[in-house]
Symmetry: D2
Subunit: 167 residues, 4 copies
């Protein structure tokens, strides 16, 4: 299993992420993508907030969930895919500001699982404040066993590897 050229891998990742309905609902932007790292962010909108006017904790969790999995994907080899196994996040400060940015970086890329760290920042007037920190475990699987992107649930074979946990 050779390491594909990164440009090819990056294009595949961007296509898969773009196919996520939830990514579009959140209006999330996958900006930087490099081997071992990813940056994903959302702009402030009233429907992403909680009752005190801060970004909802669920928005932070979405950024962590997607950002860490995407970062892990940048280190995959040909024929591999990855899926979120678990993560833990600490909320550090109210998520004010115009934009919420998650930067994820691979701590260790393994053959069966990768560990990814992430930091989340709110941006206001060009200044960043860290609002969350996270640590995630991403399962690395054979891409063959996964349903094709865009398939409908009815098309997913019943014997799909039950070990495949996540998005």
């Amino acid at each position: 299993m050779a390491q594909p050229p990164f440009a090819h891998l990056a294009r595949t990742i961007r296509e898969r992420v773009a196919a996520q309905g939830f990514m579009q609902l959140m209006g999330a932007d996958l900006s930087a993508l490099e081997p071992g790292g990813a940056t994903i962010s959302v702009a402030r909108r009233p429907d992403l907030l909680q009752q005190h006017g801060f970004f909802h904790g669920g928005v932070t969790a979405f950024l962590v969930d997607n950002g860490t999995t995407i970062a892990a994907a940048t280190r995959l080899r040909e024929g591999q895919a990855c899926l979120t196994a678990e993560y833990k996040l600490n909320l550090l400060a109210p998520a004010r500001g115009e934009r919420l940015v998650c930067r994820a970086r691979v701590v260790r890329a393994g053959r069966r699982m990768s560990v990814v760290a992430a930091d989340v920042f709110s941006v206001q007037d060009g200044r960043e404040t860290q609002t969350a920190i996270a640590l995630a475990t991403i399962a690395v699987v054979d891409a063959d066993g996964l349903p094709p992107a865009g398939s409908r649930p009815g098309e997913v074979p019943e014997d799909m590897d039950p070990d495949r946990p996540g998005p």
Copy 2:
């Protein structure tokens, strides 16, 4: 600080949750609410899915984030509020189905922090499959220090307790 009648507390919780723009965006339903427990769910919609047609991991995280905090809120005393400090979740199986349901229950209600466990299930044809499990720490704070619900960020006093982390 007396324990208010639960009906009053439940009404306050429902009002606060209803004031979350993100709750509405997700179309989430806070069904059961009892002392020490909460049930929150979302119905399947294309814009809540990932590229394989399952509920996005970020939707599970949102349910866990909100469900555990709401469960902790059912054990608050007069003048207290609560905010998510941290949580960890494991994704167990693809989140198929028509509905995704999170049931959260308080493991320990403390004066300064509460610990809440949550299980997430997908529902298909009336059958439930567990798709995630989570463990959360919720900070208990004085309600006085919090900005009023619905306040805009500009109105939040700059000296607000920096220890207040979450939604």
Copy 3:
């Protein structure tokens, strides 16, 4: 890969656990062992305490670390081994008492990873108080790739699967 009779598996698990020098240092007792569950405990000793006379948090962590991995091992198939990938634990109350008991149960046994929950209790005068709660991810691997129990570090082949993380 057939499921071996449980008595045989239980014997193997007990042998491996008995070969842990740290298990002996802690004076830990692996009492109950059934498919999907394990109970491990330690008796109070001055050298297992912290400065306030409670069991040290590290003792709780040891019980969780070992208890969850042993519980996962009860669900292994022929030729498989398991290793701790990660866990999270919440300390709920001071760990007083004469004995500290960890009960671990498999939430989901997978082909590549298992998720295990654990509760820790202190026992005083026959009464139990929950002192911690935990959630762990255990990697399931081929037993072939592991060094034989009792091997010295110098004997471990350098090309051992770098994905094998834990005890």
Copy 4:
């Protein structure tokens, strides 16, 4: 509550840590201690290993448990104490080597809780390999409510703040 001179705080921390029976059992060494950071390590001994000759996962957990709490303690103010609330750790690689070192650093020091990150390394022939990564939440409490160090459990007042969770 003024910030005491760090030399005084460091002395108090070292005294408290030295009073932990478990710290002595592990033969652990608290080397570096600076505002916001702590380094704690153990030397290889047969009774700190698991069956494959690596440091036991419980030893890593002990280092993380103590290291993160000690790091949080370096940022306390007069009259405050701190106690482990929760942590999560990922094991990244077998903990070989002559020494296992945990470096903890405060990510955010709060009035009620602090968040601390930690990295664990095994040292062999002067070379370090990262073997674990962790994220912890440490509760900050009034020192008054805690039992004096060295007190026996029978001396601990029954009405001690039940929110005080940890070592």
